[in-house]
Symmetry: C2
Subunit: 338 residues, 2 copies
């Protein structure tokens, strides 16, 4: 590979002049610059990334901690990662995928201290995430997908669960439904300790009060089987309800199947709407599911962008770090028929 000294020699200038042409740190004469650029093109010169990293002190590498925990990997998760990787690349950064089994954040910290990583993006952030504390302690820059309880952690991007939930419920109410059930997550699980659950449930209660509709909350594990069980509960206790809003996509698969087996028709007897299924995933339901889609790409990209801005010392002027998603009307919802 051609290096800087080759370019300098060919262009008949000093190495530092080549450097200044590249970085633009100092003014360079028209004609000199042209000669240097020509030499670079002719030699196919590409600055050595490792040398740049060593000299400049930043590797332009971010690690994305990809949870591989009990919760499992949902098909939507990859969308965050891809969006973050794309966005990072726009700024000249690269995303290292870091699957972490059993919270091995120490490894990541080591690698950050060894200069391999400039920062870390965390997924599946829980309300009190001990990983955040560790990263802070070791002064490793980080960005969050999700939020902790701590409002000082300002480098994050998250879903606006409140508004998404509101959108979903309003849609049902507009369709004439007044007696609803909310299908949530089990609070004891890992998933339950992530902001989604608590924020969803809070929003459900707020909106219920505000719109004066009746909404009871059913809890289910993140499994199809648990959703089937919940359907039985529904049939037992909430037969008179005509609509369900869910934050638990996995359980909803079992739930809708359970309802149909019990003789309920969707959407004729019960309308379903989910705020955590992807557009592609919604088609796997029968009938196709009405959803408020999670804006995974926006969130992933925003998290990466926020972190990079923080690394570059730019002021935190991001106007929106919360993303709602949009309502996609499919065939699991219909007007209330008395």
């Amino acid at each position: 590979m051609a290096k800087r000294s080759d370019v300098a020699q060919r262009a008949g200038v000093s190495e530092s002049t080549v450097s200044y042409v590249i970085t633009g740190t100092r003014p360079i004469g028209q004609e000199t610059k042209a000669r240097v650029l020509k030499a670079m093109a002719e030699l196919g010169y590409k600055p050595n990334a490792m040398a740049q990293a060593l000299r400049s002190g930043n590797s332009k590498m971010l690690a994305m901690l990809f949870g591989d925990q009990e919760r499992g990997i949902s098909d939507g998760d990859i969308e965050y990662v891809i969006a973050a990787a794309d966005e990072a690349r726009k700024y000249g950064y690269h995303l290292i995928l870091w699957p972490v089994r059993r919270r091995a954040i120490e490894d990541v910290i080591k690698k950050a201290e060894s200069g391999l990583l400039d920062g870390v993006i965390l997924m599946e952030v829980s309300l009190k995430d001990e990983r955040v504390a560790l990263l802070k302690k070791h002064k490793v820059p980080f960005g969050l997908i999700g939020r902790t309880q701590n409002k000082l952690d300002t480098v994050f991007a998250d879903r606006d669960f409140e508004t998404a939930t509101r959108l979903a419920i309003e849609e049902l109410v507009v369709l004439g439904h007044t007696k609803l059930v909310a299908l949530s997550t089990s609070n004891e699980t890992v998933a339950g300790q992530i902001g989604a659950t608590i924020r969803f449930e809070d929003a459900v209660e707020d909106v219920a009060k505000e719109l004066k509709v009746q909404i009871d909350i059913l809890h289910a594990e993140n499994t199809i089987q648990s959703g089937l069980d919940s359907a039985k509960d529904f049939v037992k206790k909430y037969k008179n309800r005509t609509a369900v809003v869910s934050v638990n996509a996995e359980a909803l698969i079992g739930f809708s199947r359970g309802l149909q087996r019990a003789g309920f028709s969707i959407p004729d007897d019960v309308s379903l709407i989910c705020i955590s299924t992807t557009p592609a995933g919604s088609l796997a339901f029968d009938p196709p599911l009405t959803i408020v889609s999670p804006p995974a790409s926006e969130i992933g990209a925003a998290a990466a962008r926020e972190l990079i801005h923080a690394l570059q010392g730019k002021p935190d002027d991001e106007p929106t770090k919360l993303f709602v998603g949009e309502l996609l009307r499919r065939e699991s919802t219909s007007r209330y028929k008395k």
Copy 2:
């Protein structure tokens, strides 16, 4: 961060001695080594990754080209990536996720030539993959997930579609089915140009001859809708068939739904088996789908391992680069009832 000279000073030795303690390139005295190790521990010394990369000439970084093409991202794909990342880390390598829209392999080559990447892993390799030619031309080391037609591309890991297909069909034949349909991919699509389709169809024909059973092939796009259409074809043309083997997971969703709508019961009237659905995905079917699971983790890990071995100049002694997966009996298959 503490650096090598700090350690040397604290241990009262020269910098090169510290280096030899770390690399083991030359013998170091017992007591000296102990002093150096103590100093390293006390200072929390971590060798700078970028300096090592610059000096040694390899970055220990691999790029994983993650297709983001028409075919879309299936939920199983992430498993390859995670497995590859895990395996790479075992060898001290890191995996950079590289989403490529419209085959921008040139970028990757540039970054490899700039010393950022030691090698590249390609996913969704088609039989004649022009990316492979480009990487060869620029002498960028690569490993494949999948295979080209060229048998000289020996750094790869792929599914043994032949055996997987055979397993699936044998299972159905053992259950007494003799009149089958194979649900394949449409040859005009991107997916159709990947080895899976042609190898599946070849295997279907071979096994059909060998076991003297009747198998006709239905083609469908990789969409639920296309699967629904195929179900109509099935009802029209193949009413007397009692079992279906599919390589097209997406279409099979629509296909099974279509059959059920047409009044067929699964598995009482028709048995279904799929060779390209993940264990988790199979549960989303109703009834849960019998599958020959794609061994994504093994393949992803093997691809990474193969590439790293090649980079380290180790002889290519990997015994198996083809992985079958295993039969998981669920509830979509049953004994033939005449």
